[in-house]
Symmetry: C2
Subunit: 343 residues, 2 copies
DNA sequence: GTGAAAGCGCTAACAT
DNA sequence: ATGTTAGCGCTTTCAC
């Protein structure tokens, strides 16, 4: 099993009777190199099956061309789209990608960040875990001026740019839509309110009520981890309420679906008895009966934007002083779960 | 912004008045090194905030400690579990992970494999894309004796080990279950029959029919890409059949769910008119109404097994002559979609 | 426009 | 048990 020896720039140099330096320059787009030698170098490299040794290059340049991505979970249509978007931009930019999932646990997120740091990624793209409190695991990156970009689940930080949607407005719109469909007593099921996406949606929810002169009832907020079980529990809680709600806005589609299923089991008619809205436009929305009204936003584009922003930070040598928050489009998708045709 | 200089083994050596070699050995578990110096080295490394430079090490050792994973898609509960299992084992083994999704396209899978190859991964874990025909994009790995392990969507190859479940038996069992529930005319909706998982399930399906003396009707096989739209299309096709089936076995849960939804829209009662079974036990199975009978198998364990097998190949210096096929457990989960209580 | 040479940080063969 | 040394493949400064 003689594994064909790996070709180096020295091999190419020998064949071409030039110096390794010339080969190195020829392979890049070095200005001071003649068109003809560049051609020869590139052709010979291809012919000999040369592939550049990233480690040597990384060692020499002290940069790895590798970007780390930390997401709460992988089995999400939205995040999978985000990653596809990130992959597209970074591949085109010649970067490698390391992906890891925090599984919604701060502890695992910390471990992931540490691994990324030790792998010496050039930059980091992060959507925070459900229960992440502190940002101290990103301190090493800040100290080394390694850019960290947050997307979707973000946090304000002077050193970090963020890519988000307008969660406030989205929730405001969807709540208003429920009110327009004759909901006067709306329950809001949401996640950890110290996470921006949930706190903003909560704000939007309250504002919409207030603008329509509906008083906000603290008991109508159910905070849980938005899992399937949590959806079921929320349903039971709703059933036990003395003043049964006529609308429910859940901050996550899966949880909404599981909540709907449970309520239906108990004879609740949706949307007749209770109108429903979710968030994220996961495929489940069009499978659950009735189909789920919710907010759609494009993961792929968010991923592209995050990656582009990161590359922007990376290519300018200066400090990342120009941190920014980029707000992407979202759209209200109205489906049967919230439409009451009381003519 | 003075980025604290990176600590190297030379810095530690200087501080400790020993040689860099000693530090290097101290950091590993080199046998010929005194307990006390080892202690001192490790303590000093921690104190100075040393982190090993993988590139230097990779360059020197000509191995990267990085494993590549290529999966058809990330937004799958099953595959996300697999990846979590892989991650656990590889992290513990000190390996890094590069994950990429082929998005069910051979073309992208080829690109992914190339990226992995150029990143010089030490090994590769692959679940094949829907339409992958050739294995030629893995040739470079075979030639360099870089182990490639397939899982779930596998292919026979003398150089590759595989981790699978017994798809034949699983399909056999689930089909028999449908027959036991008074299905005599079963449609099988499946994917590309050159993919092992689908061909084996098809075999099991046919065998079960045959063993129960039910004749197999070629028209009852619907081959599609198992997407949501495909599920809908399959439903329409089923509705148009002259001899309406009384059972449907779909090789994928999402597709099954979408098919069920469409049939219900057309007034079909499930399981009364048509009993249903899916495959994979995705969370959707317990959200769809009625809940979906199917085959459960543990992604996390499959991932662990794949990673362990890979590490096994990696740690033995010899050739990978001992390729193997590992078959994991599966379980039939019976839910409402297939149970007919005709007393 | 091209070449010579040093050095990125680590490891291992070979000394001692 | 520890030190010396060379070299992994690449880039780049400084020559010419």
């Amino acid at each position: 099993m003689s594994q064909a020896k790996e070709i180096t720039i020295y091999d190419i140099a020998d064949k071409l009777k030039v110096s390794p330096a010339t080969v190195s320059r020829g392979l890049k787009d070095h200005p001071a190199i003649s068109k003809s030698t560049k051609r020869k170098v590139i052709d010979m490299a291809k012919e000999m099956g040369y592939r550049s040794n990233n480690f040597a290059s990384s060692l020499r340049l002290n940069k790895t061309n590798t970007i780390g991505v930390i997401v709460p979970k992988l089995n999400s249509s939205f995040l999978s789209d985000v990653i596809a978007g990130i992959e597209k931009i970074l591949n085109d930019g010649g970067y490698n990608l390391i992906i890891s999932q925090s599984l919604e646990s701060e502890k695992k997120e910390i471990a992931n960040a540490e691994t990324m740091f030790n792998s010496r990624v050039d930059g980091l793209l992060v959507s925070l875990a459900y229960d992440t409190q502190s940002l101290s695991h990103f301190e090493p990156f800040f100290q080394k001026n390694i850019p960290v970009i947050f997307f979707d689940r973000v946090v304000e930080h002077e050193k970090c740019s963020s890519i988000v949607i307008d969660n406030f407005k989205a929730a405001y719109d969807i709540t208003t839509h429920l009110i327009d469909n004759k909901c006067n007593n709306i329950v809001h099921v949401t996640g950890n309110l110290s996470r921006n996406v949930y706190s903003e949606r909560f704000r939007g929810f309250k504002q919409a009520l207030s603008d329509r002169n509906i008083s906000f009832i603290p008991e109508n907020i159910i905070v849980n981890n938005l899992s399937l079980e949590a959806g079921k529990d929320a349903a039971l809680k709703i059933l036990s309420m003395s003043n049964c709600p006529d609308g429910v806005f859940v901050a996550n589609d899966y949880c909404a679906a599981s909540c709907i299923v449970e309520l239906k089991k108990h004879g609740i008619k949706i949307p007749h008895d209770i109108a429903f809205a979710g968030f994220n436009n996961d495929p489940i929305s069009s499978l659950i009966e009735p189909n789920l009204t919710n907010i759609d936003y494009k993961g792929f584009e968010m991923g592209e934007m995050a990656a582009k922003t990161l590359i922007g930070h990376l290519s300018q040598t200066q400090d990342i002083k120009d941190t920014q928050t980029i707000v992407m489009r979202h759209e209200l998708i109205i489906r049967e779960s919230s439409v009451r045709n009381t003519i």
